[in-house]
Symmetry: C2
Subunit: 367 residues, 2 copies
């Protein structure tokens, strides 16, 4: 790692800090005689969730997403502790100071100095020919290249196998967003392995990425179907409006400045175009992209829409209660919270909406 310019010492240090922070949280809980099961990613499953009265994630936002992904009970609190503040923004976690003084957080919980917060989540129905409702756990795939059984997934679908044509409610709830787009297909290549032996590379993996535009049809709030071609469609919650959706839609100071310059010229405006005005406009615009995690509405945005003779895009983004998408993709998928993936190929139809029964229960401590 050091040869490559990576900071090995830094990685080790971050691991040390994380481990120490986890110990602190566990000790704080046990000191209050709370029974604690400490599980790692691979051991975290629905049985563990059933056993617990509450779930605490210790990591960054990604770990919180994983923790939430196995909780379907709207009365089971999930609390995030950010054990990696140098690296994670911790949007989904308690404020960073509780990482080092977790007993303070516990005291507030005991004294009722908090309120419940329900983060709305998105549910997905899938139908059409050739669909595959078996999700792929992307984190698992990364960790273990050979997986010979996924019994826990298999169970869930025992009763659904007989009828695969009707809409399936998928066994996931998106806390941040659902992203639909062409996945980048990969194929095993014998040739690459042959050549790599010559170059002393030991990586057996092989990834070929081809940016391909996604073709699909979309209907918002049961409106008319519209054909679209883009780099993908993002449908987020209030929680997710701060995440990838924000990065897709936010505008740069540089762009706002150019737009205002052009407007000034065209509109013959007497407008002092100073940095302060540009900054205010930029901030206001970007802030308008965010909304409360508790609002039962979704925000859809089309990423890099392609507009030409064939494809139009009446609205590039907006709020909605329901989004339906019919895939015309060759090799696409729906990715939930960056961690679970479903095939979404030509002919499949997804219906995307929020049901308040799916909300995730978290806490907001009083400050």
């Amino acid at each position: 790692l050091a040869l490559k310019g990576s900071n090995y010492a830094g990685l080790l240090e971050r691991h040390r800090i994380h481990t120490k922070n986890v110990e602190h949280v566990v000790d704080s809980l046990r000191n209050e005689r709370i029974e604690v099961r400490l599980v790692k990613r691979r051991e975290y499953n629905e049985e563990t969730v059933r056993w617990a009265d509450a779930v605490i994630s210790a990591g960054g936002d990604g770990t919180m997403l994983l923790a939430a992904s196995k909780v379907f009970d709207k009365f089971k609190p999930v609390i995030g502790v950010n054990t990696d503040p140098e690296r994670s923004e911790g949007h989904l976690c308690l404020p960073v100071r509780y990482t080092h003084s977790f007993p303070e957080a516990l005291q507030k919980l005991y004294r009722g100095e908090f309120r419940w917060q329900w983060r709305q989540r998105i549910r997905l129905y899938l139908e059409g020919t050739g669909i595959n409702p078996i999700p792929v756990d992307l984190h698992e795939q990364q960790l273990s290249q050979e997986q010979h059984s996924r019994a826990h997934i298999n169970e869930r679908f025992q009763d659904q196998r007989s009828d695969i044509s009707g809409p399936h409610l998928l066994p996931v709830r998106a806390l941040n967003e659902v992203f639909i787009g062409e996945s980048l297909s990969s194929r095993y290549a014998m040739c690459s392995v042959l050549f790599r032996e010559n170059f002393k590379s030991c990586k057996p993996s092989f990834k070929f990425s081809l940016h391909r535009a996604s073709y699909y049809e979309i209907s918002v709030d049961d409106g008319p179907w519209e054909k679209q071609k883009s780099s993908g469609l993002n449908v987020c919650t209030g929680t997710g409006s701060k995440a990838w959706s924000y990065n897709i839609n936010k505008i740069a100071h540089q762009a706002v400045e150019e737009i205002l310059k052009i407007a000034k010229k065209h509109g013959s405006l007497n407008m002092p175009l100073n940095t302060e005005l540009v900054q205010k406009v930029t901030n206001d615009y970007n802030e308008s992209l965010l909304y409360s995690p508790e609002e039962p509405k979704m925000f859809f945005s089309i990423r890099e829409p392609i507009v030409n003779r064939v494809f139009s895009s009446s609205q590039q983004r907006g709020f909605s209660s329901k989004v339906c998408v019919r895939s015309r993709c060759w090799d696409a998928c729906m990715v939930v919270d960056g961690g679970t993936s479903f095939e979404f190929n030509d002919g499949a139809i997804a219906s995307i909406m929020i049901d308040t029964e799916d909300a995730l229960c978290t806490v907001l401590l009083e400050e």
Copy 2:
């Protein structure tokens, strides 16, 4: 296909039209006693290019990119005929009317009623530990899952194998753009095949996509190195400024309207905010993203930059003569014209620039 809602008859018809158009071009050439070799994608190679005085691509823009990808001689003209006008914009091809009256184009060429156009292209140097200068042809990968020899690629590197630490000039020239970003890793999954048997799906492929931000460091025109995190970096030519780059950077009418509304409010502007003004500003802004294919300059844009405590982004886009990128990615690649891919992982350094010797020779017919 029909069961899935795909338009089989439409696909067949497009193929018929394409075939007819190709015959028309070939016949027109042979009628002038020009010797023609008609090759398909897989047969198109550097020996064929060497044999030819000129290369004509018959297809859409993608076919033109493929044709150009094997031409390294700046005096070998490459001309595109758009045989699929319903589906391809044909930016890189002759105007559509010549598709059905190719003899007219030939006459103009004979009479000198044209000018040469040199489309500048980008070259790439790669260095650092663990790099793999063997490119992967993504179109080939799609067509044939088993490839046992890539002798033509092998040849090119015979002399370079002894020294893999110095900067390698890669055997490609980007006509549209180079895109650098995390590829979406895929792994073979035994489990997916087991379950799919139950669902009558016959696809042996398996793609798991995980949107992961790309980490890298960038230096523009030999300026200071800057750490960045984003959805990827796009560096294009004038030709490519109309392609993916345009879709990354263009702004929607809806966004301009919102920005001007906010500006009007903050600046207490007496500005009539009508659709006409918004449209003018939108069009001007979007047009400023385009420039001549013959200009020897590159346009870089950072896709969805992530700005927080750790990562900054002083400039989201701009013109440059040279861009250097050091990968801090886990599993990334550089994709040239959406068709050729190179690994670009932690420690690799790419230097990206235009050399006018690499220009592609095309023609602009007089109208």
